[in-house]
């Protein structure tokens, strides 16, 4: 009997068994927050009711989209994208906007080995495969905790946080105030959309006006993410190309 062969076989089996069921699939949805309905006093009453009407429509419809985050722990890449549905006649443009809020209209890949997040956008006839360094925002970890779906989560806020309304007006590096709740007991650096690079899986994140939140988390086996085999461009290059598009 070839014990050596058997030994290797058992080892292999152990290896694969141990790594079975080690991938994750998280489902997310978006929702608006109360601040979304704050409108500047400069706006007249008639305009205000029109803006509020649009925002109510967003509130009513944003929940119809579901997003999945599939984590492939073997290649250390995750894919975040919307679950496609069919839009009601005439609503295509509105739906594209809803999907775009906080990201998710186009697939987003989190490539841990490259320390980058990639967005694969097919927009008005051109593909913009853009890379951003991960984490995309400067996070400041706080001690606040809460439970989400049974996991203990900690709050992280972007450096220019809501505690200190420091807003750089009209400059290109205008920073929005983001928040994110991450669970250290779940795979680190992954999260929905561009909310990545934190020491735990992000289950809830957003800005003052809306947030993306996890509905459920599943342990699955053999998630295979196909990372696009394309050359990527930087954010500055993408902005330059978009400016050329809308400028003329």
């Amino acid at each position: 009997m070839n014990y050596k062969r058997l030994y290797i076989l058992v080892l292999l089996l152990n290896f694969t068994l141990a790594h079975a069921q080690s991938d994750f699939k998280v489902t997310y949805k978006k929702r608006v927050l109360p601040e979304y309905f704050q409108i500047s006093d400069s706006v007249s009453d008639v305009k205000k009711s029109r803006y509020l009407k649009v925002r109510n429509s967003v509130k009513r419809n944003i929940g119809k989209f579901k997003y999945t985050l599939q984590i492939d722990t073997e290649s250390n890449i995750s894919e975040f994208k919307v679950i496609e549905t069919m839009s009601v006649d005439g609503n295509e443009r509105f739906n594209n906007n809803l999907k775009g809020m906080l990201g998710g209209r186009f697939p987003i890949y989190n490539h841990l080995k490259k320390d980058s997040v990639f967005e694969n956008a097919d927009f008005r006839g051109k593909i913009y495969f853009t890379s951003y360094k991960s984490p995309r925002y400067k996070w400041r970890l706080t001690k606040k905790t809460k439970d989400i779906l049974g996991f203990k989560c900690y709050l992280a806020v972007t450096e220019e946080s809501t505690d200190k309304t420091v807003i750089f007006n009209f400059q290109k590096d205008k920073k929005e105030a983001f928040h994110a709740w991450y669970a250290p007991s779940l795979p680190a650096k992954y999260g929905p959309s561009f909310f990545t690079g934190l020491p735990g899986l992000v289950l809830q994140a957003g800005n003052k006006k809306m947030e993306i939140y996890a509905l459920d988390i599943k342990n699955v086996s053999n998630v295979e993410v196909e990372f696009p085999d394309k050359k990527s461009i930087t954010e500055e290059q993408k902005n330059k190309q978009l400016k050329a598009l809308i400028g003329r």
Partner: protein, 892 residues
Amino acid sequence: MNQLFKIFLLILIPLTSFPQTHELEGKIQDSLQNGIPNTNIIATPLDTDDEITFSISDQKGRYRLILSEHSRYLVEITHLGFKKISDTIQISEDQTQNFTLQESTESLEEVLIRQEMAVIVKEDTITYRTDQFKTGEERKLRDVLKKLPGVEVDREGNVKVNGKSVTKLMVDGKTFFTGDEKLGVNNIPADAVDEVEALDNYNDVAFLKGLEDSDKMALNIKLKDGKKKFAFGDVEAGAGIENRYLLHPKLFYYSPKTAVNLIGDFNNVGQKSFTVQDYLDFEGGFGLALEDPSTYFNLYSDEFAQFLREDEFTYSKNDFAAASLYQDLGRNFSLDAYSIFNKGKLRTKTVQDISYQSSSQADEFRNNTGQNDLLFSINKIKLRYDNMDNVDLRANTTIKYNDGESQSNLSSLVQNNEEFVNTNNQPRQLEFTQTLNLNTQFSYKHTTKAEITFKHSESNNNRLWDFNEALFTDIMPLVVEDDSFQLEQDHTTKLNNIKLNAKHYWVLADFHHIYPVAGFNYFNTEFNTLDRQILNDGSINSFEDAGFNNRLDFSLLDAYVGFQYKTQIDDLVLRPGLVVHNYNWNVAQFSNEIANENKMMLLPEFFAEYEFNSSKKIKLEYNRYSNFSKISQFANRLRLQSFNQLYRGNSELENQIYNRIRLNYRNFNMFRGLIYFINLSYSHREQSIRNLTEIDGIDQISTSIYTDLPENTYSISGNINKRISDYRLSFGTNFSFSDYSRIINNETLDYQNNNYGYNLKVQTRYDEWPNLEVGFRHSFSELSSENSTNEFMRITPFAILEYDFFEDFIFKFNYDYNYFENQSTNNINRFEIAESSLFYSKEDSAWGFEIQATNLFDVSFKRENSVNEFIVADRRIFLQPRTILFKLIYKL
């Protein structure tokens, strides 16, 4: 000597007391010596009445101030999140001074730089208190904006704040008239402006968000209390040789709840200052194009828009006035109304050489001159209700009225026999339409759209014909008294129509939707015609016994129900549908029922669309259509349509049915500036209402029949548009082939009509050089039957030039050339038309001057050729002679 010295001193003193200025610059940094961008540095002179100077630090935290020498300034430096620094400074030479800001532990929502500071920074808004920056000579908002730091205004009125373009202008939080920011920038009076707010403007398209909101913004102009009502506008007045005149005032009145726009145009040069674009703006402009595209595009082709495009006259005098009003009624209601009124006089002249397809008939030469006096008015009121909820309610009321009188003199010459017909036509029409639109979204699974329309219209047309020859002697029982005959014709139509349409959008599942639809369309019409002869003594010779005169009552109820089912497989969307119509109609003539029918109709439809990617799409559509044509075609008694056309309707007509299938492929690659599309379509008529004609010489007697005579049309069209740096090229082509049959003199004749052509256009978009749009169209058309073939070819090049030079001059030139060849007879004709103008106005001046010339080459007529089953006509349409006008424009 003393005197001279005094004068010398007097000259010197002002020279020496010119304040010397020096630069104070440096860096604003934090405790780590990092530059702090966008810090506000204000220097207020303490000893003099000099202006307050202001600087905002750049990306690296650097600032620069220009200060007067030996003057003391209070320099205050503030930034959100940091403690304010105040310092007194006096400089005698260029100096560098850095400031270090300490972080503040308080959280600040608002930073007040000074009690009555010139600038306030809050959240996403910069507010400028303009009084601090005005010097008193400013006339309009643009003059004030130019004085604000960081703000640039160009010649046309485009504004940039800190390098970012302003794309929206609001006044006291509301859109200003059409929303075009140049209108406000160039016209709001400077003394009414209190504060100017620059607001971050977020872009709708989330994908462009990070890019857009750092690049664009909105300006909100806050008006001073007591100055919230103002008027502005401009007046154009012109005069030319031969008593030509033009007066064109354009006035705007603005108040917090009301915005009124008045346009007047009084001229006798045939110019229409109120353009089709102005008409579309009155109707809602771009906003309407986005909300209700089909209504918007129907406006292009309605009668009023056609009138606005009318340019075939020898003389035209118009008194035109239009007013549009916007009123905020409070409690979520707003009102948009407009009123258009025109009184005009038109003179036309057309000469035609007509040859008849039937070889036995000799050619006819027709000369037609007309004088029209018309009066019309269109009034529309739109009420809109917007509340926070999911209900969108709109009500539109339209009232159209026109009244006119036209006198036309026609002479028809056939082989030495000349026939004269003089017609006096008096049309009058009143139309009232009320529409109600409702749009409700209950949840994302259920949305309902409903529309109900009510229309009432009345029209009357009274005609008096005077002619020198008896017409249709076999049919019309004319009494011969001498060699002139007078006929009176009276047509009256009354219509009441109620239409209801409801569609429900139901999301059954992610990829399965069902859209049920139901509604009805009810018509109740009256159509009366009267043809009779007026004898020399004024008595009447009735033709009623000869089969003339109609008193028709027609009612139709079209009730329908149906649905569309939408599904998606990968990137392919499919939407089949079916609608069932039930038609019920009733026709009575002189109160005797002549038709009473009931009919069911099944109208299937199919739609498929495949999206290759975000720029490429292919679409397939199939529809079966059914419609009832004009009710006047049911009027089965005789009536005279023109001096050589008699018509009798048919009470047994039914609905026309045709099928159409269309394929469309398009590629909209905005990035490469390339757009192209191809359309293919095929339509087949199953049942149609066609004319059955008997020709006798140049006289035609026709009736309508309901027939299944075959009729097929195939068409292909394509277009490519490409942008290459400063040029835009466009190339298009179209082909259409149709075969059909007509019954003439009891014989069924088959026809083939083919048309093809292509066009090419190049447009330039230079900033410095003249801008040119050049192109041409080359087309061929062919109409053939067993008896005859007619082939035409036409080339029409054109050029439009616009040149802005020496900053204040604008030169424009339009040229159209027309070459036409009848390839069957080898007749060629050509004509060319040109227009030009030169405009001068100094920037910031209220005055402008213009010389304008229309019909530069003094062309007498333009030529047109047309062909149908009966005739080939070569028409010469006479035009207004060359007109030169000198215009003066004053801006209020």
